[in-house]
């Protein structure tokens, strides 16, 4: 169980990105975070694994206070939390295999890993995860030779190397076309349903949020303006979240 308690983030330039946000995520949920650009979705996800340090508030996961963890404890927590990104964040000049193996850095012998030495079982695990996302044939390619959809699947394979219990997905399909978006979200859905990985996923499109989310949280100016089931978002709610002028755009 993940508990977010009174989380607030004020950036150095004074921007209030999160304003006293509290909610709880049960194990096994596919929680979708929606909201306009700049509403605080990215900051919220990054505060959970402390890529961004929260200004105040607490993040408690399985009874452990992530916000109070030491650097060493934080590394142990981070390796159980997979993360995928809008821009995929692969090391473009490295091979697909190296990118995937880097997902295992929190577990392997740190000194050997500095010399790019990974045990055979880790290489096999990487191949297995690449097979799961359907691009085993690209293992030796440079990451930037792949299409956007393929790169995001490498990102998922990298996160899978962590055997994550929780998956943070920051706009994972915002840079992809609709068909590719669905295939990527289906991998995430598969992780959620078949392997019981809890998912926190921010999305732009309400139609995608409705299709994949078991629950939706909407952020506006750093505050939660909606927390409920996908089918509860009607036209009225929609305008509350996205503003009066917004029109629903569907991704089918």
């Amino acid at each position: 169980m993940l508990e977010i308690q009174n989380l607030t983030k004020i950036y150095e330039d004074g921007t209030l990105a999160l304003d006293d946000v509290s909610f709880t995520v049960e194990d096994g949920e596919f929680l979708v975070v929606i909201g306009l650009s700049g509403s605080g979705k990215s900051t919220l996800l990054r505060c959970i694994n402390r890529l961004v340090e929260p200004t105040s508030g607490r993040v408690i996961w399985d009874g452990e206070d992530i916000t109070a963890a030491s650097q060493e404890e934080l590394r142990k927590i981070r390796r159980q939390i997979g993360m995928i990104f809008q821009q995929f964040n692969l090391v473009k000049r490295s091979s697909v295999m190296t990118n995937v193996l880097s997902g295992r850095l929190g577990y392997v012998n740190p000194w050997l890993s500095l010399a790019h030495q990974f045990p055979r079982e880790e290489r096999e695990r990487a191949m297995h995860n690449l097979e799961l996302v359907g691009i085993a044939g690209k293992a030796q390619n440079r990451a930037d030779e792949l299409s956007g959809g393929q790169q995001q699947r490498v990102g998922i394979a990298r996160a899978l190397m962590q055997n994550p219990k929780l998956m943070l997905a920051d706009e994972p399909v915002a840079s992809l076309d609709p068909a590719t978006s669905h295939s990527v979200l289906k991998y995430i859905e598969h992780l959620n349903r078949d392997q019981g990985v809890t998912v926190l996923c921010s999305l732009h499109f309400l139609s995608l949020a409705r299709r994949y989310g078991t629950r939706i949280i909407a952020l506006k100016a750093g505050q939660i303006v909606f927390d409920g089931l996908p089918e509860e978002i009607d036209d009225h709610r929609f305008k509350e979240i996205y503003g009066e002028e917004a029109v629903q755009v569907e991704v089918r």
Binding site: R75, R78, R79, N89, V91, S94, T98, S102, R104, M161
Partner: protein, 385 residues
């Protein structure tokens, strides 16, 4: 009214700008001492140099010499000298002079036979009692190896008096082609240049790497101290870049003496400034995303550097280093002129000695090596980045 004012103002501004530009060009025409007519007038003077530069002295053959000697008496004493009998085989070259005695400026006819056919040679006088020889007419032997030269007796022979020598000598090149002296020296020195540049690139690069981190905006903290270090480092790069390599080479040639070491030191400074700036900019352009992603997997700091930062900076750093080596080879030919060693130094000597066909060898060698370095470094860079 207002509309027209504006038009006049605009026209006036244009006219002013055109007048200003015209003034600047008149000034620079005078400052540059432009005299295009000299290009035509001076052309005959340059023809020799340009011809020599297009004919690099690349190969030589060993020279062979054939010589024959007879004597002449000047002035006549009444008892004409008998020519030294030919001690060699009767096939050997021989030379005769007619008449056997004469006064200064008297016409004489020198004829020879038994020489190598169709070969050019020269007639020399060996005045009595003197070590040196006087050069006289050139000749070419005919198909039978004979020649005839009409000339006059040099006054020096009469001054010396007695019996003087008359020597006919033909010269030709024979045997296998050998690399010429300038070619051998150039090859040796251009190798020195390439490796001198490599040493300078390495030394400068090693120093430039840590400095480049100090000169990268995204690496230096935005604190007063961080800003100061960043500003100083970038300022250092810019100031050093604006100092001409030839000045640095002159300073180091005085400091450590003429030779390659002075060149290496000067080039190292050039390299630090130039690579420092290029490296800094490469470090500034690394992406935050992959670093964030590797951090999120629970990697420690070293792992983040090795997996998130290094793959992003090693290829551009390597590419810039190879490029700098290429540039340093070019610069080192110039700084060789002021005592920085390498091929530039011998090129300067040959130019000073007006040995244009020798200088030509060095010039062409530089062209070829620079082109090769440029081409290969471009290909290697393409493969890396």
């Amino acid at each position: 009214m207002n509309f027209e004012d504006k038009t006049w103002l605009q026209r006036g501004r244009w006219l002013l700008l055109i007048a200003l530009a015209a003034g600047m060009y008149v000034w620079s025409w005078n400052a540059a001492g432009m005299q295009p007519s000299l290009l035509i007038e001076g052309a005959p003077k340059a023809r020799g140099i340009i011809k020599d530069l297009l004919q690099p002295h690349l190969f030589t053959r060993p020279e062979e010499i054939q010589e024959a000697e007879t004597v002449i008496e000047a002035p006549c004493s009444g008892s004409p000298p008998s020519p030294a009998p030919d001690e060699g085989s009767s096939d050997g070259p021989a030379v005769q002079i007619e008449p056997a005695c004469a006064s200064a400026e008297d016409p004489v006819m020198v004829s020879g036979f038994g020489f190598r056919p169709n070969t050019s040679g020269r007639l020399h006088w060996a005045p009595a009692g003197m070590q040196g020889r006087l050069r006289d007419e050139q000749f070419t032997t005919d198909a039978q190896g004979a020649f005839t030269v009409e000339t006059t007796v040099p006054p020096l022979l009469e001054q010396q008096g007695g019996v003087s020598g008359v020597v006919a000598q033909v010269e030709w090149e024979s045997g296998a082609l050998q690399p010429s002296e300038p070619l051998r020296t150039t090859i040796e020195k251009i190798i020195e240049t390439v490796f001198l540049a490599l040493m300078a690139t390495t030394l400068g690069g090693i120093i430039a790497v840590p400095l480049s981190f100090l000169g990268a905006r995204n690496i230096m903290p935005r604190t007063p101290a961080g800003n100061a270090v960043y500003g100083l480092t970038r300022g250092f790069f810019n100031v050093m870049r604006s100092i001409e390599p030839i000045i640095l080479a002159t300073i180091f040639a005085i400091w450590v003496g003429f030779g390659p070491f002075a060149g290496v030191l000067a080039l190292s400074i050039v390299t630090i400034a130039s690579l420092g700036k290029l490296y800094s900019e490469a470090a500034e352009s690394i992406q935050e995303g992959p670093i964030e992603a590797v951090t999120a997997t629970g990697a420690n700091r070293f792992q983040v550097v090795v997996y998130g930062v290094v793959p992003q900076i090693v290829p551009p750093y390597t590419a810039f280093t190879i490029y700098q080596w290429d540039i340093n080879v070019r610069i080192s030919t110039i700084i060789g002129f002021v005592g920085g060693g390498g091929v530039g130094f011998v090129l300067r000597n040959w130019i000073n000695q007006t040995r244009w066909t020798w200088a030509s060898v060095a010039v062409w060698a530089i062209v070829i090596v620079v082109w090769l370095m440029d081409y290969t470094s471009a290909r290697v860079r393409e493969a890396i980045v």
